[in-house]
Subunit: 196 residues, 2 copies
C-alpha cells in the first residue's frame, strides 16, 4: 500500500475547516510550506495545545482554559443580567459591542426539532440552575434570528417565565447603516410594529 | 505579565493564512474546538509533520517529501517537454487538466523588478541546467498572464532562445464557457490576433 503524501493529508485536514473547499485548502497548505513555515509550526503547535487545554467554563459553558472563563471570573460585572447565546462566537460578537455588562450562558447549540435536537441536547439543565441562582433578575435571549434560534428563544422564554424569571429578547429592526430600499420586507414590517 | 490565552494565539495563527481575517480566523478556531476536535488534532499533527518532511524536489523545485517528486520520478513522461510554472499550485492546476505529459520546472517566484526580484532571486541557474540537459527540445512558458508573469516569460524566452532552445507560451484567448459580452477588451483583442 502506498503511503499518502503528507501534503495531501494536510490539504484534507484544511478541508475540514468550515467553508473551505479543495482549492482553498490546497492554497493554505502551499502557502504555509512555501512562504511561511514559522506560521505552519505555530498553527500546528497551538492546535495541539488548544485541544488539550481548552475545555468549557463550568459556569457559562463557553470555551475556556480554566474551570471559570475570564468573564465569569470577573466579579465586577452585573450579576442580575444573564444573556443567553448559542455559541462562543456569538458571545465574542456581543462582547465586542461593549454594550453588555452582565454574565453570559452559552447553549452550545439550539433547538432543532427537525434534526432531532431537543431540550436535552443543549445545556438546558445547567442553564436552569444558572438562571434560578437568586441573583439573576433578567434573562436576555440573544439566540439567532433564524427559525431555529427564534424557536429556542420562544421555548426558553416560556420555560423561564413559568418559573417567575423575566425574559427579554434582542430588538428586531433595521440594521444600522442600511438603506431601507435594500432591507427585506419582514424586517421592515417588524421594525414598523416595534417602532418607538 | 498575564499569559495570552491559547484561543487568542490560535486565532492569531489562523490569521496568517492567505485571505483570512480576524472574523474567519476566530470562526475556524471556534469551529474546531467546539465541533471537530479530531480535525484540530489531525491538522496540528500534519502541519508539524509537513514542516519537517516536505522540502523541494532537487530536479523541479516543487514541494516534495523525497529528493525527487512523484512527477520527476515518473520515467514514462515525455522528457522532451519542460513546462515552466511559478508555483506548486500552478503545477497542480496544470496536472488536473491531464493535457500535459512532459516534466515541470517550478520557479518559486517570478521576476518583479519593482520589488527588487531579479533573475538571481528565482531558481534561474537551476532552470538553465535543467533546460540544457540535451533531452529537452521545447520549453513551455506557463507563468501567469499578469504583467510580472509576462515579463518573466519574455525574459526566459529571450534567454533560452539565445541558447538555441525552442520556447512556446500558453495560448491567450477567451476562456471556455465565456459570454463574449463579459470578456475584457484586451483578451478579445488578443483572441482576434491569435485567431485560427
Amino acid at each position: 500500500m502506498e503511503k499518502v503524501p503528507v501534503l495531501d493529508v494536510l490539504t484534507e485536514a484544511f478541508k475540514r475547516l468550515p467553508g473551505v473547499g479543495p482549492k482553498t485548502a490546497q492554497r493554505y497548505a502551499f502557502h504555509l510550506l512555501q512562504h511561511d513555515r514559522p506560521a505552519a509550526e505555530l498553527l500546528g503547535r497551538t492546535l495541539l495545545e488548544a485541544v488539550v487545554k481548552v475545555g468549557h467554563c463550568t459556569r457559562c459553558n463557553t470555551l475556556a482554559e480554566n474551570a471559570l472563563c475570564k468573564l465569569c471570573s470577573d466579579s465586577s460585572r452585573d450579576a442580575t443580567l444573564l444573556c443567553i447565546v448559542e455559541s462562543p462566537a456569538d458571545q465574542a460578537g456581543l462582547e465586542t459591542t461593549l454594550a453588555f455588562k452582565g454574565y453570559y450562558f452559552v447553549l452550545l447549540g439550539r433547538l432543532a426539532p427537525l434534526d432531532g435536537i431537543g431540550p436535552n441536547d443543549i445545556a438546558f439543565e445547567k442553564l436552569l440552575a444558572r438562571a434560578v441562582d437568586g441573583l439573576v433578575t433578567e434573562v436576555i435571549l440573544a439566540t439567532s434570528f433564524t427559525q431555529e434560534g427564534e424557536a429556542t428563544a420562544h421555548y426558553l422564554s416560556q420555560f423561564l417565565k413559568s418559573r417567575g424569571i423575566k425574559t427579554t429578547r434582542l430588538a428586531r429592526g433595521v440594521p444600522m447603516g442600511s438603506e431601507l430600499e435594500y432591507v427585506d420586507a419582514s424586517t421592515i414590517a417588524q421594525a414598523l410594529r416595534d417602532r418607538r
